[in-house]
């Protein structure tokens, strides 16, 4: 079956981009979950939906429009919660519902709810064009390189921001780096996973790994492996059942999470 799967160029494209995105999402997810920023992923994906629907209405390239918009939203969300003008979770809820509302209005005024819009919301394996693959691979490579280079600092800022700040680490800059990288991953992954489901790609692997592993490195490595495996299994299920790919990946992640949760209890008792 794998041979059959790989004979379709669109599936090969989806596998390449998806594996890279799943890897990046898992790495960033560990920091986001631990910093209590999980909802930022959700908020940003909704902003991404708004941006995509505007791009669609205006006949612009979807990735090129949503990248800067989502990056700007990440910047604003972080600033809002840091200055505590509005509490972080409330700020995200405001921004994400507003973005969806604007997106839906734009959609209904222009094309109406068609297949394209449905695909933006729930993802499509066909979404990746040749040029998307190149852009996605480049973005993923940048995210991976930055994550590895700043791994130790990301740990320090995630673990104890006060100490990092006091000893001369520019914690604000690293928070911003994490938010911007998240924005990149969301935009790239959103079209395959769907705006409604992409945030699970970020949150699930980290939470799954945290059930069992107790060191930061253990959690990061495990989350990366779990994420990529769940992605590949999800895509196979999606192909076999002809079900939306994003949903299949989320359900696979849910199943693995349950297994790890049981495993974690077992390990702790032993």
């Amino acid at each position: 079956m794998l041979g059959e799967l790989l004979s379709y160029p669109f599936i090969v494209r989806a596998l390449v981009v998806g594996t890279l995105v799943a890897l990046c999402a898992a790495l960033l997810g560990v920091s986001l979950v631990l910093k209590r920023y999980s909802m930022i992923g959700d908020g940003l994906s909704h902003v991404g939906f708004g941006a995509l629907s505007i791009a669609l209405a205006m006949n612009l390239a979807p990735l090129e429009v949503s990248l800067p918009v989502v990056a700007l939203a990440a910047f604003l969300l972080l600033r809002l919660s840091e200055r505590s003008l509005i509490r972080g979770d409330a700020a995200i809820a405001l921004v994400s519902s507003s973005a969806i509302a604007i997106g839906v209005i734009v959609v209904s005024l222009s094309t109406g709810m068609n297949v394209d819009v449905y695909n933006y919301m729930f993802g499509s394996i066909l979404a990746m064009s040749e040029s998307d693959v190149v852009l996605s691979a480049a973005v993923s490579a940048v995210v991976l390189a930055l994550y590895v280079l700043f791994y130790n600092r990301i740990f320090a800022v995630t673990f104890d921001e006060g100490f990092a700040r006091a000893t001369g680490t520019n914690a604000g800059a690293y928070n911003m780096l994490i938010a911007l990288l998240t924005a990149l991953v969301i935009v790239v992954g959103m079209r395959m996973m769907g705006a409604m489901l992409i945030s699970s790609l970020i949150i699930f692997p980290a939470l799954t790994a945290m059930r069992v592993f107790k060191s930061f490195r253990g959690v990061v490595v495990c989350a990366a492996i779990v994420s990529v495996l769940c992605f590949i299994i999800g895509i196979i299920i999606s192909f076999v059942w002809a079900a939306p790919v994003g949903a299949c990946i989320v359900v696979t992640n849910l199943a693995v999470f349950c297994v790890f949760a049981l495993l974690g209890r077992f390990v702790r008792r032993a």
């Binding site: 130790n152 673990f159 000893t167 060191s215």
Partner: protein
């Protein structure tokens, strides 16, 4: 030239004045104890020195020292309860400020981490999960991290809280050695007045305002010190805590 000079520092916190018009300065190699009751502004003052809290007025000036040369032990680390981190990972993060732009730890960093863990008797816990340690063990991990970060200045906020007497005595001896042998400037916040009258060369007594700032010898003769000491400690037992071990 003063290493740290703090002039007319006033800090407001939650609408009330936590630190009111405090001025003092430290020379390189000084060892300052900041004493006072709970809520007298000690921790807030330290946070202002580190730039974690913005003062309402006044200035903090560092001469010939950057933030990257400071070791800091917070009173309560703002870490989360479910954070997955091994002891080795936490202690290593103290070395980051030495790295400049280099992304990874060097062999020298790893040696420093091992030494500091051995000094605080937590080497055996290196692979253990930080959140599963007891309060006293967590304290020592934070201390080891602070020691890794220290090159010119060490700031400790209630370093011995939750530690047993043996480790406490060893810790004071260790701080004293760092101060005397490596010339590291030390600031210790403590509500344990008996250690303050035994260790270091300067004392700052806080009660929102600076009630006293001067040498330890002068402090022992003041009324405010005698009142703090009450009946249970004796200034003339001086000298034990610092030089044990």
């Amino acid at each position: 030239m003063a290493l740290i000079s703090c002039e007319h520092l006033t800090i407001k916190y939650d609408g009330r004045t936590a630190v009111d018009d405090v001025s003092f300065s430290l020379e390189p190699g000084d060892y300052l104890s900041i004493v006072g009751e709970n809520g007298s502004g000690k921790s807030t003052l330290v946070k202002a020195l580190l730039g974690l809290v913005k003062p309402a007025s006044g200035t903090v000036r560092f001469n010939g020292i950057s933030r990257r040369e400071i070791g800091y032990l917070p009173q309560q680390a703002d870490t989360q309860k479910d954070f997955p981190a091994s002891v080795a990972e936490v202690v290593s993060s103290g070395c980051l400020s030495r790295r400049g732009l280099l992304p990874f730890y060097t062999a020298a960093d790893r040696r420093l981490v091992r030494e500091n863990m051995e000094k605080l008797e937590i080497a055996g816990l290196a692979k253990k999960c930080y959140r599963e340690l007891s309060g006293g063990q967590q304290r020592r991990v934070m201390l080891a991290r602070a020691l890794c970060a220290t090159r010119k200045l060490l700031l400790l906020d209630e370093p011995v809280a939750g530690l047993d007497p043996v480790i406490t005595a060893e810790l004071y001896a260790l701080i004293d050695r760092l101060n005397r042998e490596q010339g590291i400037t030390v600031i210790v916040v403590t509500h344990d007045i008996s250690s303050a009258v035994q260790c270091g060369n300067k004392v700052l007594h806080m009660d929102t305002r600076a009630v006293f700032f001067g040498t330890r010898e002068e402090y022992i003769t003041t009324e405010v010190c005698r009142r703090m000491m009450g009946v249970h400690t004796h200034a003339d037992e001086e000298g034990d805590a610092c030089h044990a071990g």
